[in-house]
C-alpha cells in the first residue's frame, strides 16, 4: 500500500460485508453451506491482512503514511487515514485473527439459518475496527469507534431471543457508546487546542496540549472513553456480561480487537498527551486496580468464558498501566504483551467454544477428563494456558519478563518499584492459578458430570485456534527475531521516540527472572489450594459491585423518563405553570433584574391626589375593574362569572372614555358586549348536566388542597413579575412616543382624516388592517369548522331548515333554548336591527372624521343579529334573515374587496392600498363630509368581514341541533372509510 491506497484494507472488508448482505438476502444463500460461505468471506479479511503485512516493513523507520481526501470541500471537511507501525500491528491482529474467526464461525454456526447475518455483522465490525486503528482524524476515529460499539451490540445480541444476550449487549453498548460520546467531547477539545482535527497536527501540538488549561478536562474525557472501551475498572462490568455473545464473537471482540481500541487510543495520544503527572497517576492507578480486580475475580468463576473475560480485564489493566509509564521498557513490554495476549486469548476462547459446542456446557464443575475425547483441543488449550500463565518458552513468558523488567526500571523510586512489582507478581500468580484451573478442570481429572458427552471437533474448527496457539510457541524459534524491528517500530510510535525490542527469552539471572519465579511459585501454591481459596472468595460478599451503580444509573434514567412523561401527561395546568415559571426565571435572569430592583427601591411613590374633576371617576372605574375581575374568578355560577367579566371590560371602557379615547372606547365596548354574547351562546349550547358538573368541580377546586399552594405560588410569582415590570414602565415614563405626534400631525394633511384612529386603520396601517380582518375572519371560520362542519355534512337539521314546513317553523319561534319571549322584546328586536344598520352605515361613511369605523359598524350589526338569535331562536332568525347563510362568503368577499380596492388604487395611484377619492375624481354630488374613496370601500370591506365572521360564529353557536349525534355520524363515516380502504387494499 502507498499513501493513496491506504483505504483498501477498510474498503475490502466492507465490500466483504456487502457481499455477505447480498448473498444473505438473495436465494443464493440456500445453495451455499455456512462453512463455505464463511471461508469465502475470510478471503476478504485475508486480503486486508496481506496488504497490511506487505506494507509494514516499509514503516520500520517510524514514519507514518497519511491519506486524506477533501471529502466535502465546501464544508472544509477532510477524511483522513493515518498508518504507521502501531496501526499496522493492530490491523495485523484485527484482520489476521478475523480471518481465523470467520473460518471458525462458519463451523460453529453450521446449521444456523441466520448465520449469514452474524457473518455480515462480523465483517462490519472488522471494517469499523480497522477504521478505528487507521483513522487519521478525530471525526473518522469517532465514526468508526461508535461503529464498533453498534456492531458489537448486534453481535452480542445475536441470539436475541435470550434475555441475557439482549441485556448484555445493551450494557456493552450503553457503557462503550456512552464512553465514546465522552471521548468525542474530549477529542473535540483536543482538536480545538491543537488547531486541527487530524492526528498529524495533534501529535505535533503536544506542548500546547499539555500546557493548556483544559488539559485535565480533555484527559479525563478521552481517558474515560478509552477506559470504558477497554473494560477498565470500574467500567469493566460490561465485559463479563458480553460473554452471552456467540463464542466466535467473544474470541474476536473480547480478546484481540474491540477491547484493545481503548488501549490503541491511549497509545496513539501518548506522545502528545502523555508524560505528565496526571497521565502517570491516572493510568497507573486505574490500570493497576483493574489488573488486580480482574485477576482476583477470574479465579472465582465457574464459567470458562467468564474466567477468560476476567483474565482479559486483568491483562488490559496491565496495558493501561504500562502506557502510563515514561520509560522505554514499558513500551517494549506493552507491544509484546499485546501481541502475546491476542494470540493466546483468542486461541483459548476458540477452544472453550469448541468445548461448549461439543459438550453443551462450559461450566468447570460439570466438565473434566476431556483429554481422551478431545486430545487436540487439550493440546491447544494447554499451550494457550501456559502462555497465559507466563511460563517459558511461550510468548506469555516473554511478555511477563519484559513487564517485570519495566516495573523494576531504575527510573522508579524504590517504593514505586516495590509496589508495582508486587502487584504484578500477585496478579501473575492469580493468572497462573486460573490457567491451571482451566486446563486441569476441563481436560484432566475425572469427568464430574456423566451426562456430559464429548467428541473432538472437525479439523477446520481446530485449525483456527491452532494457528495462534502455535504462534505463541514460535517465539522460541530462532528466526522469530526477524520481527523485532517491526515491533520496535510500533513501540516507538506509541512511546514517541525509539524503543529497542528484543525477543530474547533468556536474559540471564536478573530481578525480573527472580520475580517471575516468585510469581510462578505463588501461583502454583494458589492452584494447589484453589478449592480453599475459591471457597474463601465466595464467602466474602461482593460489597462494592459496580453493577449496582450501573443498574441504579439505568433506574435513574427510567425515573427521569418517567418524570418527563409525567410532566408531559397532558395536564394543561402543569404545562402552563412550567411555561410561566420559566418565563419568570428568564425575565429575572436576562431582563436585568438589578436595574429593575434598583428602580423599584428608589421609587418615589406619587402621592395620590383627587385633583381634577374626573379623578374620582377614574378611581371608581379602577376599583370597579378590580372588583368585577375578582368576582369573575370567585363567582360559582358560570353565567354570573361571565357577566362579571363583561362588567370588568366595561370598567376599562369607562377608563378609556375618561382618557379621552373615544375611538378605542367604542371598539372596546362593542367587542366586550360581542364577546359576552358569544360566551353566553356557547354556554347555552352546553347540556345542563355538564354545566352542573363543571360547577361542582369548580366548587371542589376551591376547597383547600396542597395543589392550591403550588398554583398560588405560580400565580403570585407571575403576578409579582408583571406588576414590577409594569410599575417600572410607568415610572420610567414619560418617554415620548415617536408614533403619536406623527399621526397627530399627519392624519389630516396626508390622509384627509380628522379622526386619527380612522386614518391609522385604513391609511397609515392599512396592511395591518387587512391582516387583522383576515385574523378575525379565520376566528369565525375556525369556530364554524370545529363545531359545525360535521353538522352540516352529516344530516343535521339546521342544514334542512328551508325544507321544514311553515307551521313547524312558527311553532319553534321561541327564544334561545326554547325560552318564551315577550312581544315587547320582539318589538325591541324588530326595532334594533334597522337602527343598527343605520348606525353602521353612518360609521362607515363618516369613519374618517368621526369616532367609529368599519369594525365597530360590523360589530354593531352583528350584535343586533345576535339579539335576534336570542329572541327568535335559530330557525326563525334564519328564515327571516336569509342572507345570514352567506356567512363565509361575506368574509371572503370582504377580504377580496380590500385587495381589489387596493389594486384599483395601485393601478391609478401607483401604490397599493393608497387612498383614492373617486367621488372627487368623478365630481359626484355627495353629502358634505362623505368621500367616496378607497377608504370608504375599505371600511365597507372591514364591516362585511366582521359581520360575516360573527355570523359564522352565531350560526354555529346558535344552532340547536348540535349534540352527540354529529359525533356519532362522523365516527360512523370514519369507520365506513376505513372499511373501504381495507376493501381497496384487498382488491
Amino acid at each position: 500500500m502507498s499513501e493513496t491506497t491506504l483505504f483498501w484494507p477498510i474498503l475490502i472488508v466492507f465490500i466483504g460485508a456487502l457481499f455477505a448482505l447480498i448473498i444473505g438476502l438473495s436465494p443464493l444463500r440456500q445453495r451455499l453451506s455456512i462453512p463455505l460461505f464463511a471461508t469465502l468471506l475470510a478471503i476478504f479479511s485475508f486480503s486486508a491482512f496481506l496488504l497490511d503485512i506487505s506494507t509494514w516493513p516499509s514503516l520500520n523507520d517510524g514514519r507514518a503514511l497519511v491519506w486524506q481526501i477533501n471529502w466535502l470541500p465546501s464544508l472544509g471537511l477532510t477524511l483522513s487515514l493515518y498508518y504507521d507501525s502501531l496501526s499496522a500491528l493492530f490491523v495485523f491482529l484485527v484482520s489476521g485473527i478475523g480471518t481465523l474467526v470467520l473460518i471458525y464461525a462458519g463451523q460453529y454456526l453450521k446449521g444456523d439459518e441466520n448465520a449469514w447475518r452474524f457473518l455480515h455483522y462480523l465483517l462490519l465490525f472488522m471494517g469499523s475496527m480497522i477504521g478505528v486503528v487507521m483513522a487519521g482524524d478525530i471525526i473518522t476515529l469517532f465514526i468508526f469507534w461508535e461503529g464498533t460499539s453498534i456492531t458489537s451490540y448486534l453481535l452480542i445480541a445475536y441470539k436475541s431471543k435470550y434475555e441475557e444476550a439482549r441485556e448484555g449487549a445493551f450494557k456493552a453498548l450503553f457503557i462503550t457508546g456512552g464512553g465514546g460520546i465522552a471521548m468525542l467531547a474530549g477529542l473535540l477539545i483536543v482538536a480545538h487546542v491543537a488547531g486541527g482535527t487530524d492526528f498529524v497536527t495533534i501529535l505535533q501540538s503536544g506542548e500546547a496540549l499539555r500546557n493548556s488549561n483544559l488539559y485535565p478536562v480533555m484527559l479525563a474525557l478521552v481517558a474515560f472513553g478509552a477506559f470504558t472501551k477497554s473494560a477498565q475498572f470500574p467500567a469493566h462490568i460490561w465485559l463479563p456480561d458480553a460473554m452471552s455473545a456467540p463464542t466466535p464473537a467473544s474470541a474476536y471482540l473480547h480478546s484481540a480487537t474491540m477491547v484493545k481500541a481503548g488501549i490503541y487510543l491511549l497509545e496513539r495520544l501518548n506522545p502528545a498527551m502523555g508524560s505528565t503527572e496526571a497521565w502517570f497517576w491516572l493510568l497507573t492507578l486505574v490500570g493497576g486496580i483493574t489488573m488486580l480486580t480482574g485477576a482476583y475475580l477470574g479465579l472465582k468463576q465457574n464459567d470458562l468464558k467468564a474466567l477468560l473475560a476476567y483474565s482479559t480485564i486483568s491483562q488490559l489493566g496491565v496495558f493501561v498501566m504500562l502506557i502510563g509509564q515514561e520509560v522505554e521498557a514499558a513500551f517494549k513490554a506493552l507491544i509484546i504483551g499485546i501481541l502475546a495476549h491476542a494470540l493466546y486469548k483468542s486461541a483459548l476462547f476458540m477452544v472453550v467454544g469448541i468445548v461448549d459446542h461439543e459438550t453443551g456446557t462450559r461450566n468447570v464443575t460439570r466438565l473434566g477428563g476431556l483429554r481422551r475425547a478431545m486430545p487436540v483441543s487439550f493440546v491447544l488449550a494447554t499451550i494457550g494456558a501456559l502462555s497465559m500463565a507466563g511460563l517459558p518458552p511461550l510468548f506469555g513468558f516473554l511478555a511477563k519478563e519484559t513487564l517485570l523488567a519495566a516495573a523494576v526500571h531504575p527510573t522508579f523510586s524504590p517504593l514505586e518499584s516495590y509496589l508495582l512489582a508486587s502487584a504484578i507478581v500477585v496478579a501473575g500468580a492469580l493468572l497462573l492459578a486460573q490457567s491451571g484451573m482451566l486446563v486441569y478442570e476441563t481436560f484432566l481429572g475425572q469427568a464430574k458430570d456423566k451426562s456430559v458427552h464429548a467428541h473432538e471437533a472437525p479439523w477446520p474448527m481446530l485449525l483456527a485456534p491452532a494457528i495462534p496457539a502455535l504462534l505463541s510457541l514460535t517465539v522460541s524459534l530462532p528466526n522469530a527475531r526477524t520481527v523485532e524491528p517491526y515491533l520496535a517500530s510500533a513501540a516507538a510510535n506509541a512511546f514517541g521516540t525509539a524503543v529497542k525490542v528484543s525477543l530474547d527469552l533468556w536474559t540471564g539471572i536478573n530481578t525480573p527472572l527472580i520475580l517471575s519465579v516468585v510469581a510462578i511459585t505463588l501461583g502454583s501454591l494458589l492452584f494447589g489450594q484453589r478449592a480453599q481459596v475459591r471457597a474463601w472468595q465466595n464467602r466474602i460478599p461482593a460489597t462494592v459491585s459496580f453493577n449496582r451503580v450501573y443498574e441504579s444509573a439505568l433506574r435513574l434514567i427510567d425515573a427521569g423518563a418517567y418524570w418527563a412523561t409525567r410532566l408531559q401527561g397532558g395536564r394543561l395546568r402543569l404545562y402552563l405553570a412550567i411555561m410561566l415559571l420559566s418565563m419568570v426565571g428568564l425575565v429575572l435572569r436576562f431582563g436585568a433584574t438589578l436595574p429593575l430592583v434598583n428602580l423599584l427601591a428608589n421609587l418615589t411613590w406619587p402621592t395620590p391626589t383627587a385633583d381634577g374633576e374626573l379623578a374620582i371617576l377614574r378611581i371608581f372605574s379602577l376599583v370597579f375593574i378590580v372588583v368585577t375581575a375578582l368576582a369573575s374568578v370567585l363567582l360559582e355560577r358560570d353565567f354570573a362569572a361571565i357577566l362579571a367579566m363583561g362588567a370588568s371590560g366595561l370598567g376599562i371602557v369607562a377608563l378609556m372614555v375618561l382618557e379621552p379615547a373615544p375611538d378605542v372606547a367604542l371598539v372596546q365596548v362593542v367587542v366586550d358586549i360581542l364577546a359576552m354574547v358569544i360566551l353566553v351562546l356557547a354556554l347555552a349550547r352546553l347540556p345542563r348536566p355538564q354545566r352542573r358538573k363543571a360547577q361542582e368541580l369548580t366548587l371542589k377546586l376551591k376547597s383547600f388542597r396542597p395543589g392550591l399552594l403550588w398554583d398560588g405560588f405560580v400565580a403570585l410569582s407571575v403576578g409579582a413579575l408583571v406588576t414590577a415590570v409594569t410599575l417600572t414602565a410607568l415610572v420610567s415614563r414619560p418617554r415620548e412616543s415617536l408614533v403619536t405626534p406623527y399621526f397627530e400631525e399627519n392624519a389630516k394633511p396626508l390622509a384627509g382624516a380628522t379622526d386619527i384612529v380612522g386614518a391609522i386603520i385604513v391609511d397609515f396601517r392599512a396592511l395591518d388592517t387587512l391582516i387583522e380582518i383576515s385574523v378575525f375572519g379565520m376566528a369565525g371560520v375556525g369556530m364554524y369548522m370545529l363545531l359545525r362542519y360535521a353538522a352540516r355534512k352529516y344530516g343535521d337539521v339546521g342544514a334542512q331548515v328551508e325544507e321544514l314546513p311553515a307551521p313547524i317553523q312558527r311553532l319553534r319561534s321561541r327564544g334561545i333554548g326554547g325560552a318564551k319571549t315577550s312581544s315587547f322584546v320582539h318589538a325591541l328586536a324588530y326595532f334594533s336591527l334597522p337602527l343598527a344598520l343605520v348606525v353602521a352605515i353612518t360609521h362607515i361613511m363618516y369613519g374618517h372624521d368621526q369616532p367609529g369605523d368599519g369594525f365597530t359598524s360590523g360589530v354593531i350589526v352583528s350584535l343586533a343579529v345576535g339579539f335576534w338569535y336570542v329572541v327568535f331562536g335559530y330557525y326563525e332568525t334564519q328564515r327571516r334573515l336569509p342572507w345570514l347563510k352567506y356567512d363565509a362568503q361575506m368574509v371572503s368577499v370582504g377580504l377580496l374587496l380590500v385587495v381589489l380596492s387596493g389594486l384599483l388604487a395601485a393601478f391609478i395611484n401607483g401604490t397599493f392600498l393608497s387612498p383614492l377619492n373617486f367621488g372627487a375624481m368623478l365630481a359626484l354630488p355627495l353629502p358634505k363630509g362623505f368621500y367616496l374613496s378607497t377608504a370608504f370601500l375599505f371600511e365597507v370591506a372591514i364591516s362585511l368581514t366582521v359581520v360575516g365572521s360573527v355570523t359564522l360564529m352565531l350560526n354555529t353557536l346558535g344552532h340547536p341541533g348540535q349534540t352527540q349525534e354529529e359525533a356519532k355520524a362522523r365516527l360512523q363515516e370514519i369507520a365506513r372509510l376505513e372499511e373501504e380502504n381495507e376493501k381497496q387494499a384487498k382488491g
Binding site: 466535502l72 470541500p73 453498534i150 411555561m579 418565563m583 438589578l594 399627519n746 397609515f764 392599512a766 371560520v781
Partner: protein, 497 residues
C-alpha cells in the same frame, strides 16, 4: 385632494397577496361549487402557490422596503432574507399540499377549508420574515397561528385531535399575550415599535427594554417549541392529523425563527450579549430535553415531535451565533432549508405507514419494513440519518455549518463552545433513537399492512425531499452561497440614516 400615506409597493407584497387571495377565493367559490366536486381547491391552491413562488423567485436579489410612513421606517421589508424564507414557506406549502391530497381523502378530511386555512397560515408565515415592525410581527404571528389551531382540530370528533387543538389554542393564546406584553414594554422603553427605531432606543431603555426583549423571546420560544416552552408540542403533534403535524413542524417553527432572527439582528444588537446568553441557555435546555426524552418515546409522531424540539435547539445555536458571526444567519437559514425537506419527507413516510387514524404509528409497527417495502425503508432510513446528522445528508451539512458558525462567533462574543459541545454530544445521543428506527426496519421481523400509497403527488413530494436531502448532503456548496447572500437588509443600515 392629494393624499400622501405610506406607499405600498404592490410588487413586494404580491407573493403574500396572491396566497391570501387564493385562500379567500377558495372560501368564496366553495359556496358555488357543489360539495360532490372535489379536488378543484387542491389545484387552485397549488396554482396560487406556484404563482407566488414564481413571483418570489424573480425578487431574489432585490432589496426594498415598503409601507413607509413619511420620515418613518418601512414596516415591510423585502430583502434576500425574506425572499429566501418565503421560498422555504412556499415549498413547504406546496409539498404539504402534494402530500395532503391522498391523505385527506383517505381519512375523510378532504375539505376546501383545509386548503384555505393552509394558505392563510402560509401568508402569515411569509409576513413573519418580512415584518419590520413589532405590531406587524404580532399580526403575522396571529394569522399564522389561528389557522393552525383549527387545522390541529380538523379530525374532529376524534378525541386527541380535539384535545390537540384546544391545548394548542389555549397555550398559544397565552404566549401571544406574553408577546404583546413584550411589544408594549419595548414600545415603552423605546417609543416605537419599528425595529430600526427599537434598535436606537433600546440601549437607553434600561431594564424595561431588557424585560421587553425577554418577553418577546418567551413568545417566540413558544412558537418554535424551545424548552421549557415546548410542553405543548408532543401532545399537539400526536393529536393533530399527521399532515397538519408535518406542516406545523416545519412552517410554524421556521416562521417563529424568521421573526426571531429579524428582531434579534435588526432591533436588539445593542443588548446582544444578554440576548446571546439567553438564547444559548434556552438552546442548551432544548437540545438536552428534546434529545433525551425522545429516546423513551414509542409513538413515532411523538418521537418526531421531540426531534423537532431538538432541532429547534440546533437552530437556536445558529441564532445565538448570528450576533457575532456573519455565518450565523446563513447557517440558520441553511439548517432550516435542510430541515424542511428531511422532516416533510419523514412525515410522508409516516403517513404512508399510518393505515388508519392513529394506527400504525408505533415504532414497533416499523419492524421488518425493509423486507416488505425496501424502497420505503431505504428512504426512511436516509431521512433518519439526515436527522441524526450523519454525512452525506443535508442534516449533516446543516449541523456542521452551524457548529462552525458558533465556534467563529465565540471569538468575537460570548463563549459558545460549551453549547457546540452540547450540540455535538446530543447529536450523538439522537443517533440512538433515530437509528433505532432503522434497526427496527432492517434487523427485526414484523408484519402489518401498509396503505398502498402510490399517488403520483405523494411520489413527487417524496422524490423532491429525497433529492434535496441528497443534494444538500453531497453538494452543499452552492446552497451555502445562496444562504450567505440571504442577508438582512435594513437593520443596522437604516439605523444610521
Amino acid at each position: 385632494m392629494e393624499f400622501q400615506v405610506p406607499a405600498i409597493n404592490l410588487a413586494l407584497l404580491s407573493p403574500v397577496l396572491i396566497v391570501m387571495v387564493t385562500g379567500a377565493l377558495i372560501m368564496l367559490l366553495e359556496f358555488f361549487i357543489p360539495e360532490t366536486r372535489k379536488g378543484w381547491y387542491t389545484w387552485l391552491s397549488l396554482v396560487g402557490i406556484v404563482l407566488a413562488f414564481a413571483q418570489t423567485a424573480t425578487m431574489w436579489g432585490s432589496e426594498a422596503g415598503t409601507f413607509t410612513p413619511v420620515g418613518g421606517q418601512p414596516m415591510v421589508l423585502l430583502d434576500n432574507y425574506a425572499t429566501f424564507l418565503n421560498l422555504i414557506f412556499l415549498i413547504t406549502g406546496a409539498l404539504t399540499i402534494l402530500l395532503a391530497i391522498s391523505y385527506l381523502r383517505r381519512t375523510g378530511l378532504d375539505r376546501a377549508e383545509f386548503y384555505m386555512l393552509l394558505l392563510f397560515s402560509l401568508s402569515g408565515m411569509m409576513l413573519m420574515g418580512m415584518a419590520n415592525d413589532l405590531i406587524l410581527v404580532f399580526l403575522a404571528l396571529e394569522i399564522l397561528s389561528i389557522p393552525l389551531y383549527i387545522m390541529a382540530g380538523l379530525a374532529w370528533p376524534r378525541g386527541e385531535s380535539e384535545e390537540s387543538a384546544m391545548k394548542y389554542f389555549l397555550l398559544g393564546a397565552f404566549s401571544s399575550g406574553i408577546f404583546v406584553f413584550g411589544i408594549a414594554l419595548t414600545y415603552g422603553a423605546t417609543g416605537s415599535t419599528a425595529l430600526p427605531q427599537v434598535l436606537t432606543g433600546i440601549a437607553n431603555g434600561g431594564a424595561l427594554g431588557l424585560a421587553g426583549a425577554a418577553f418577546l423571546l418567551v413568545g417566540l420560544g413558544f412558537k418554535v417549541a424551545a424548552a421549557p416552552f415546548h410542553m405543548w408540542t408532543p401532545d399537539v403533534y400526536e393529536g393533530a392529523p399527521t399532515i397538519v403535524t408535518a406542516f406545523m413542524s416545519v412552517g410554524a417553527k421556521v416562521g417563529g425563527f424568521a421573526a426571531m432572527l429579524r428582531i434579534f439582528l435588526a432591533a436588539l444588537p445593542e443588548i446582544g450579549d444578554t440576548w446571546v446568553t439567553a438564547v444559548a441557555v434556552l438552546s442548551a435546555l432544548t437540545l438536552i430535553i428534546g434529545n433525551v426524552v425522545a429516546i423513551t418515546q414509542s409513538n413515532i409522531k411523538r418521537m418526531l415531535a421531540y426531534s423537532s424540539i431538538a432541532h429547534a435547539g440546533y437552530i437556536m445555536i445558529a441564532v445565538a451565533a448570528s450576533a457575532n458571526s456573519e455565518r450565523g444567519l446563513s447557517a440558520a437559514l441553511f439548517y432550516m432549508f435542510a430541515y424542511l425537506f428531511t422532516t416533510l419527507g419523514a412525515f410522508a413516510i409516516v403517513m404512508a405507514r399510518e393505515h388508519q387514524l392513529g394506527e400504525g404509528l408505533q415504532l414497533n409497527d416499523y419492524k421488518g419494513l425493509a423486507r416488505r417495502h425496501p424502497l420505503l425503508a431505504l428512504v426512511m432510513a436516509y431521512f433518519m440519518l439526515s436527522l441524526t446528522g450523519v454525512p452525506p445528508t443535508g442534516g449533516f451539512s446543516g449541523k456542521f455549518y452551524l457548529f462552525r458558525a458558533a465556534i467563529e462567533a465565540s471569538s468575537a462574543g460570548p463563549d459558545l463552545l460549551w453549547l457546540v459541545l452540547i450540540g455535538v454530544v446530543t447529536s450523538v445521543i439522537s443517533g440512538y433513537y433515530y437509528l433505532r428506527l432503522v434497526y427496527l426496519m432492517y434487523m427485526t421481523d414484523g408484519d402489518g399492512t401498509l396503505v398502498e400509497e402510490r399517488h403520483p403527488a405523494v411520489v413527487t413530494a417524496v422524490a423532491v425531499t429525497v433529492a434535496f436531502t441528497l443534494l444538500l448532503g453531497f453538494m452543499p456548496g452552492t446552497w451555502f452561497d445562496v444562504t450567505r447572500q440571504a442577508v438582512l437588509w435594513g437593520g443596522r443600515l437604516l439605523a444610521g440614516g
